[in-house]
Symmetry: C2
Subunit: 461 residues, 2 copies
């Protein structure tokens, strides 16, 4: 393996600092390498578990002195190799920094350590009638990791992504300094926006140790709806009409026909094997009723083949079951096959075309790849099912994913709506941003991490 | 005056490039120096009016070669000396770059040149049933200037600030490169967030020449309400209760008792001289009715002394007249006096205390200073009325403003919610952010503008 120079000495110093909270066993190291993509797993040389920001600062100081890479690690649920260690180094596992430091129901905010998970925070604030709105698929994800990868998910249409949700943060910078990016005001026009610079930086500019986050009051009423359409285009038209009418839908999810057939088999459902929209409306009793009526009219006017809705929680869960089970249905429908989940986002007016061209590409390539989309954001996922042992299967999948990104970029979109860049999409950065933006990103990286110790080999090619 | 070395040669080259779109006359130069604050006006050496991004790039190239400062200028309505030229140099007036390049009603976005104003954009998209939501007081402000200063205003509670509204932008960087920060996707997890880094950078990192912006559908119905309270604290409690109940108020504005008395005199109103809330609710017919009923109950439960509301546009304007006339009423109530408008923001739970302590400070200092607040954001303005010719008046006002910022920061707030830093608040940056964040901002500035030609003497002390 490619041991970074000085790594043994750094590990010795880390052991003196952290004792048994440094591990170098193979299983632990393997568990901290990325395994959720086609990228080769590259374990770190050691894993450390800091318990506080000042320990992270001490770790950074040691790593800097020995020029050893540091890879910030939350729950390891990122999908583009963000936690892999292609140049070796130390995985800084923040999952034991789990204190919820403050909650203000009056201000609808909280301050947490980076290792707190979304379900843990939600359990903590539920009795106050509050919830944390960003909801990516991975429940185990830590809030620090979600901030570092600019996570979003099904709720983003109404409540925004981590970009909109982090009020300020604390991070240890490459020089060991503990930086605080702001206070608790809901808005500020003071200074460069370091909060947003760190959100989505994937551990390449600093290691996030604390976050001040927005919370939201639990809606008075939630209504769920589901409706099949003849075509993806009709489902997209309905979504655009709803948005243009000022409806504030909380979630709008699309499953393509193949995904519906997989979930029918897995979850013993009998949905028509057509593209489906799954919608959630949240708010006051009258407002949700009004939006439901308007959305129903819009869906039917756009050719919805049926329209089911429910307000009761059990019924809502039943209605959304196909959406919830989407990923696992693919696993069980094609057992023993490997999966790669990729995502892109385009302006919503281009979504139907982008999905249709992608489905045609899937068919022409002889691939199996259901599609699930956050339609309201123009964002969709392709779950590529393939035989990892098959001859040249990896190359065929990668070529398809390259075409997927090229298609999205040609439509004014982005190479990734929510999974981030990591190693998997680094090769697309130049095409997405062009030379001057890439040069600016590299200049910023160079200025804030001149030794290149923070998550090297990620994001910036 | 402090002519930057090389400025004469730079002006000669600019005249060769732009002809009559370079001016050095005293009146033009004076009109491009800041005059809206206590900061001494410092005119640039020349003013140039580019018509396109490539002309801005050529201007930057010339300025860089001669080490001449460049100050991006929109409409000159910024309030903290952002467009002043304390080190001389060239004011780059973007107000003639007024093309609306694209509008997509399907995607609810548009792409405009930096010199387009908010009213011009709104006039352009009105027939499509759309509007641009960020609404600062200054109608003449350009969208480029609003982005550069991270502007917000009364609508921010519901629709966000320029931070949330700019999807991507084009900027000329200090090396003359034309940088594009992204596409038109509603969200992206790709790369460092250069869009947000440029938004609020006050022309210190690049000159913004184009913007892709979110638009919103005009709400089906708007309801306005106004209600007086015994105390600012009661008005703040009502706002917090409304937010905690999940009401999505579009605007919530506070006028303190002194401000109400000024506007009574100016606009011939007979409002009780108590703190007032002015509220706007927008959405569907049933949703607005429901929110109005709920807000009325909350206001009365918190001691509102009366409650007036209106849905008809003329009636709404009448009800909000006091809010609209607030600034001008101060001008006419204290004729011949100078005004300084400052702003801070705090967590909303601290707002009542912050306003009360500020009112006490105003009284103890013998100042006259009405208060207007965007309560929903915890953001408020103090309009300090003083005699510019009075002995040591400037010092007394500045000391008061310093205490205002210190108070907001001590409560976890920010030195400025929406006016920005410029020259006026640069001295507070260290206190607000601390050493490591300031060091990171300086490192970024140094990396992106190594010669320091972009708006020097602003933001970073």
């Amino acid at each position: 393996m490619r041991e970074a120079p000085g790594v043994s000495q750094a590990i010795a110093e880390l052991k003196a600092l952290l004792g048994s909270r440094v591990e170098t066993g193979e299983a632990v190291r393997a568990a901290h390498a990325n395994t959720l993509t086609w990228i080769e797993a590259a374990p770190p040389d050691a894993v450390v578990w800091p318990l506080a920001t000042d320990e992270v600062a001490a770790i950074v100081e040691i790593a800097g002195r020995h020029r050893v890479p540091l890879i910030a690690f939350g729950a390891g649920t990122s999908l583009e190799g963000q936690v892999n260690a292609p140049l070796g180094g130390i995985s800084v596992d923040l999952s034991r920094m789990t204190r919820i430091l403050a909650v203000s129901a009056r201000d609808l905010d909280c301050t947490v350590e980076a290792g707190v998970t979304r379900p843990a925070l939600n359990a903590h604030v539920r009795d106050l009638g509050l919830f944390f709105a960003v909801d990516p698929g991975a429940d185990g994800a830590t809030l620090g990791g979600m901030a570092a990868t600019r996570a979003s998910g099904t709720n983003a249409m109404r409540y925004g992504t981590m970009r909109d949700t982090v009020l300020s943060l604390k991070a240890v910078m490459a020089n060991g300094a503990v930086m605080t990016t702001g206070g608790r005001a809901r808005k500020s026009a003071a200074g460069l926006d370091l909060t947003r610079l760190l959100v989505g930086s994937e551990g390449t500019l600093g290691i996030i140790t604390e976050l001040t986050l927005k919370l939201h009051p639990v809606p008075e009423r939630i209504v769920a709806a589901a409706c099949p359409f003849e075509t993806v285009a009709a489902a997209c038209e309905a979504t655009m009409d709803a948005t243009a009418s000022g409806l504030q839908l909380a979630r709008v999810e699309l499953l393509d026909a193949l995904q519906v057939s997989a979930v029918n088999a897995h979850s013993k459902l009998a949905l028509p094997e057509r593209p489906h929209l799954f919608v959630e409306i949240a708010g006051g009793a009258a407002a949700t009723e009004e939006e439901l009526t308007q959305f129903r009219e819009i869906a039917l006017a756009n050719g919805a083949l049926a329209f089911a809705w429910a307000a009761d929680e059990t019924e809502r869960r039943r209605l959304w079951r196909a959406r919830h089970d989407a990923f696992w249905s693919v696993r069980t429908t094609w057992p023993g096959r490997s999966l790669v989940v990729s995502d892109v986002a385009v302006p919503i007016s281009a979504l139907a075309t982008c999905v249709a061209e992608t489905e045609a590409d899937i068919a022409a390539s002889g691939l199996v790849a259901p599609i699930v989309g956050h339609v309201g954001d123009g964002n969709f996922h392709v779950i590529v099912v393939f035989d990892a042992g098959g001859r040249d299967e990896g190359g065929r999948v990668r070529a398809f994913l390259d075409r997927l990104v090229a298609r999205a970029l040609a439509m004014g979109g982005t190479s990734t709506g929510e999974h981030g860049v990591g190693q998997g999409k680094a090769g697309h950065m130049a095409r997405e941003f062009g030379g001057p933006a890439l040069e600016a990103m590299r200049a910023i990286k160079g200025a804030l991490d001149p030794l290149g110790i923070l998550n090297p080999g990620k994001m910036l090619p």
